[in-house]
Amino acid sequence: MNVWDWNFAGQIIPALLNGLRITLVATVLGSLIAFVLGLVLAILGRGPRPVRIVVRAVVEFVRSTPLLVQVYFLFFVLPTFGVVLPALTVGVLALGLHYATYTSEVYRAGIDAVPRGQWEAATALSLPRSRVWTGVVLPQAVPRVLPALGNYVISMFKETPLLIGIGVLDIVGQVREVGGQSFRYVEAYTIAGLLFLLLSYPASLAVRRLERRRAVR
C-alpha cells in the first residue's frame, strides 16, 4: 500500500469540498454574529453602571471557558429547555457568541481611541445619542479595527473543526468519515490541511495589507 494514492485523493476531493463549504458557512455566519453582538456588547459596555457590570461579567465568563465546552453546553443543554436546533446552527451560535466577547474588546479599543473632543463636539451640536454613535463615533472607530476583526475571522475559520464534536460535518468531519471507511488518512488530512492553508494564508496577507494601509493614513 502506497503512502499516497493519487486516485484515492481524487475521489475524496468532492466530499472534502463539501466539508469546506460547511466550514465556510459556519465561519461566515459565526463572524456575522460576532461582529454584530460584539458591537452591541461594546456599546452596552459604555452604558449605565449596572449594564456595564453585567456586560463585563458575561464577557469575562464566556472568555474564561473553553469554546468546546460552550459548544457542548449549548448542544446538550438547549434541548432540555425545549430548544432543539440543528447542530450547525448551534455551532454557529457558539462560535458567534464566543468570538463576540473578543470582538467586543476590539471595538472597545477602537471606540476608546476616538478623541473625547469628538463626543463633546457632537454633544455641543445637540446630536441625539444614537446619532453620535452612528454618525460620529462608529464611523471613526470601526475602520480602525477592521484588521483586528479580520484576524478573529481567520482564527474562527481554523477553530470550526471543534464542531465535529456535535456532529457537524465540516471539512475535518469529512476527513474522518472518508478515513473511517477506507482506513486511509494521509490523503484526506493532507488535502484538508492544504485547503485551510489555501484560504487562511491569503486571508492573513489581506489583513496585513489592510493594517498597513490604515497605518499609512
Partner: protein, 253 residues
C-alpha cells in the same frame, strides 16, 4: 442671557469654582482672562452641559440648565430638557473637533438636519452661506484633514453658527493655530461680533482681541472673578495687583 448664581464645581476634592456668580446680558460680548488652571474652560463646559454643577444654578435665557419646572415644582432636568436648552448654545473648541469622517458639508449640515429638522437642501444652502461668510466658500467638499488649522477653525465656527445659537462659547479658539493664522480667525470673530446679536462668552489669551472685541472683561483667578470691568478700564487701569501681574506676564510674552 447667561446667569451664574452661587455655582460650585468640584473634581473629586478639588474645588475648581466656588460661589461663582455673574451675569451676561443678551448680545453682550464678554471675555474671560486669567491664568491657566483658573477654571475658565470649566465655566464654558458647564454652560455647554458637558459638565454638571455641584451647587448653585446656571440659567440661559431664563431657563435653568440643571432644573426644570414640573407642575410648579423644580425637579432635576431630564435629557430632553437639557437638549432643548443646549440648542440655544454653540461652542467652538481649541482643537476644532471637526468630524474627520465627514466632509465640510457633512460637518455643517449634520446637526441642522438631524436636530433642527431642516431638509438637506435648506441645510446645504445655509452651509454655503456660512462658508462664504468665513471665507471658505469653495471648500464645501473638502475633508477636514485637507484644511489648515485656521481653515478648520473657521469651519468649526461656521458649524456652530449653523445651529443659529443665541449664545456662542469660544474656548481659546486660536491657541492651537500657527501664529500667522491667528489674525484671520480673530478678524472673522470681530466681524461676527459686529454683524450679529449673538451673546459671546470667550476665553482668550489674545489681549488685543479681548480689548477691542469685548464689552466687558472678567479677570479670573483661583475659580473666582477678581476683576470685572470694561476693557478700557481693565487693560489701562486695573484695580487689582493680581490683574496687573497677569497682564504684565502675558503682554511681555
Amino acid at each position: 442671557m447667561i446667569e451664574f448664581d452661587g455655582v460650585e464645581k468640584r473634581f473629586g476634592d478639588h474645588v475648581v469654582l466656588s460661589e461663582l456668580s455673574f451675569a451676561v446680558a443678551p448680545g453682550e460680548h464678554v471675555c474671560l482672562i486669567g491664568p491657566s488652571g483658573s477654571g475658565k474652560t470649566t465655566i464654558l463646559r458647564l454652560l455647554m452641559t458637558l459638565e454638571k454643577v455641584d451647587a448653585g444654578t446656571i440659567t440661559v435665557g431664563g431657563t435653568s440648565l440643571s432644573h426644570m419646572d414640573k407642575g410648579g415644582t423644580l425637579v432635576p432636568a431630564d435629557d430632553k430638557h437639557v437638549r432643548e436648552v443646549r440648542k440655544r448654545i454653540g461652542m467652538v473648541f481649541q482643537q476644532f473637533n471637526l468630524f474627520p469622517n465627514m466632509t465640510v458639508r457633512g460637518n455643517l449640515i449634520e446637526a441642522p438636519t438631524r436636530v433642527l429638522g431642516l431638509s438637506k437642501e435648506e441645510a446645504t444652502a445655509r452651509a454655503q452661506e456660512l462658508l462664504d461668510l468665513v471665507g471658505l466658500g469653495d471648500r464645501m467638499d473638502s475633508h477636514p484633514t485637507q484644511l489648515s488649522g485656521g481653515q478648520q477653525q473657521r469651519v468649526a465656527i461656521a458649524r456652530a453658527l449653523a445651529m443659529r445659537p443665541d449664545v456662542l462659547l469660544l474656548d481659546e479658539v486660536t491657541s492651537a493655530l500657527d501664529p500667522e493664522l491667528v489674525a484671520g480667525v480673530l478678524t472673522l470673530l470681530r466681524d461676527l461680533g459686529a454683524s450679529t446679536d449673538i451673546t459671546f462668552l470667550c476665553v482668550t489669551h489674545e489681549m488685543g482681541f479681548a480689548r477691542d472685541f469685548s464689552d466687558r472683561v472678567m479677570m479670573f483667578d483661583g475659580g473666582r472673578v477678581i476683576e470685572d470691568a470694561a476693557p478700557e478700564k481693565l487693560f489701562t487701569a486695573p484695580e487689582h495687583e493680581r490683574t496687573r501681574a497677569f497682564l504684565h506676564a502675558v503682554v511681555d510674552r
